[in-house]
């Protein structure tokens, strides 16, 4: 077994970054497509997304061999901004920076209108500015979407056969992040005793993403089995098989999907029980995190 270069702290980063931006774009997209019906979801998405991205950035910096030199990622030798197109990490750094600025500003336009934040010094410039909010939201949106993909593409541009043998890792991480983002919103809605029908709608969306993720996972594993059989074996029947089958496939994808479908198909919407969507959201979040951990460690085990 090879030494682990990227430890669990990187898995946490990949998870919180994906979950955070997905909650963010879920809120904005839902609100946009519904022509403004889901304003509250957009706010919840921003409140989940921006702090999680900041936590993720801290994780990244903590893991560096030289945390205090982190600014070398953005400033070159002559202190001018540095961007290296061939480096996925360089691209990711700028995506994260742009999202933090625009998404952060967007979150502030919500925060400025909260009761408890009235009178905070800088916030007043963000209060009652619907135009600014809209602009910042749409500016942050593409960066949020690209960050969700980038966490997978980052792993794909390496020498590890499990990560670089298929073109689907970015896609898988996007879907896994979207599903986690929807689940996070469901949990907040349930915790704030929101309307059950609203939870029901998001659970429905989560089920569709879950199905897509399952399909992509199957395609990825089939492709991996022919392109890098030893890597595929690590997941299918090797060192990581219990975590893979039980943790990711069974409890992370299939069980929550069955629960969601059962609930959506059988219950009348006005008697819907929120326990099922909540429980499946928790399972999806745990499964999404485990997907990062297992893929990160299995990738480094045989490389």
């Amino acid at each position: 077994m090879h030494e682990i270069a990227w430890p669990v702290i990187i898995a946490i980063y990949l998870f919180v970054a994906g979950d955070g931006v997905a909650a963010f774009y879920t809120g904005i997209l839902a609100n946009t497509f519904s022509k403004g019906k889901y304003e509250r979801i957009a706010k919840i998405g921003a409140y989940i997304g921006v702090p999680l991205i900041i936590v993720g950035l801290l994780m990244l910096i903590i893991d560096l061999g030289r945390p205090l030199s982190f600014w070398h990622f953005v400033l070159g030798e002559n202190f001018l901004p540095i961007f290296r197109p061939s480096s996925t990490m360089s691209l990711g750094t700028w995506l994260l920076t742009a999202f933090t600025v625009f998404g952060g500003g967007y979150a502030l336009t919500w925060l400025a209108e909260e009761e408890f934040a009235r009178g905070w010094p800088v916030l007043k410039y963000f209060a009652s500015r619907p135009g600014l909010r809209k602009t910042l939201g749409y500016l942050a949106l593409p960066f949020a979407v690209l960050i969700a993909c980038y966490t997978g593409v980052l792993l794909a541009s390496t020498a590890a056969p499990l990560w670089n043998s298929t073109p689907y890792l970015g896609l898988l991480f996007l879907l896994s992040a979207t599903s986690a983002g929807l689940s996070s919103i469901i949990l907040i809605l349930a915790a704030t005793k929101s309307d059950r029908c609203l939870i029901y709608t998001f659970s429905q969306a989560d089920a569709i993403v879950d199905i897509l993720e399952l399909i992509v996972f199957i395609i990825l594993m089939v492709r991996l089995s022919s392109a890098a059989p030893e890597s595929a074996a690590l997941l299918l029947n090797g060192e990581f098989s219990v975590l893979f089958w039980l943790g990711i496939v069974a409890f992370g994808l299939v069980v929550p999907l069955v629960m969601e479908i059962y609930e959506l198909a059988s219950s009348k919407k006005n008697v819907i029980n929120t326990i099922v969507p909540v429980l499946s959201a928790v399972l999806i979040l745990a499964g999404s995190f485990l997907t990062r951990v297992v893929i990160l460690y299995a990738g480094q085990a045989n490389f």
Binding site: H2, E3, A5, W6, T26, L29, S34, K35, K37, Y38, R40, D63, L64, G65, R66, S69, F70, H72, G76, E77, I82, R84, S86, S87, T88, M89, S90, V145, C149, G152, V153, A156, S157, T158, A159, A160, N164, P167, L169, G170, L171, F173, L174, L175, T178, D195, C197, L198, Y200, T201, Q204, A205, I208, V209, L212, V216, L264, K269, Q300, F303
Partner: protein, 263 residues
């Protein structure tokens, strides 16, 4: 434009004395690494940030006879260098002479190069918190000296020179070995755009722990982005557009509609 340089390693001449390993540690003032017994005289078990070269020991059984094989391993100084491509801090540069050199002052220690190198020749140094690897002793070369490992080699298994000449010598050696019935090959002539460490191997690359078809780490980048962006389109349509879109006043039979008004 200066002529490209290359190191030449003839495994058929290596006796596994590990003089190169010690010379490298001494010249570059690299710390000792604490290791345990890994089932072989090979030590330390892998190259990394504090051990830039070492001799890999391979035991191979050929028709009932055990062969004890040696290969000095280190950074291969690839023309298509994965470490240089993935480095976000711009800490790695390729010199006109083909050497791949890591600038320790710029390195942040993110370990992207560590996971990107197809030869696992880069590692994080516990001592400095930065990624480190063989620099082909470029400062010795600039002063008209050979790399430290070359200088130390007592058998002539490791040598150094202009890449064209080194390649010609490698091919000559291969034909000599082939004449005596050895299945010899040159490794590194075209791999990753041409390596600046050329091997004469007397067995398949895999036997010596070398990838037969090394790939640059960024090879699958565009294809990965392409699939991910298609995924973005699919997700934006289903579920987001399908489920959250404003459907107007007409009642919809599908589940989930009619509840939006309560949002």
């Amino acid at each position: 434009m200066m002529a490209e340089l290359a190191m030449f390693i003839d495994v058929s001449k290596c006796t596994g004395c590990r003089g190169c390993q010690v010379a490298c540690k001494q010249w570059n003032e690299l710390p000792a690494v604490k290791t345990g017994f890994s089932g072989s005289y090979e030590n330390p078990p892998r190259i990394g940030g504090d051990t830039w070269t070492k001799v890999r020991f391979v035991e191979k059984e050929d028709s009932g006879k055990m062969r004890f094989l040696f290969r000095k391993e280190q950074c291969m100084h690839c023309t298509e260098a994965s470490c240089e491509a993935v480095c976000a801090a711009g800490a790695i540069r390729k010199t006109d002479q083909g050497l791949v050199v890591l600038n320790d002052d710029r390195c942040v220690g993110c370990k992207n190069c560590v996971v990107a190198c197809p030869f696992h020749a880069v590692g994080l140094s516990e001592e400095t918190g930065s990624s480190r690897k063989c620099r082909l002793c470029y400062e010795r070369i600039e002063n008209g000296m050979e790399p430290a490992c070359v200088k130390a080699c007592p058998t002539g298994a490791v040598s150094f020179g202009e890449r064209d000449q080194v390649l010609a010598r490698a091919k000559q050696r291969v034909s000599v070995l082939r004449d005596s019935g050895v299945n010899a090959t040159v490794y590194g002539e075209n791999e990753l755009g041409g390596l600046h460490v050329l091997y004469v191997l007397d067995d398949e690359p895999e036997v010596y722990g070398l990838p037969a078809h090394p790939r640059v780490a960024t090879a699958g980048l565009l294809n990965n982005w392409l699939h991910a962006l298609i995924g973005v389109g699919v997700v934006a349509f289903a579920p987001f557009w399908l489920i959250f879109r404003e459907r107007g006043k007409a009642p919809d039979k599908s589940v989930g509609t009619g509840v939006d008004g309560n949002a």
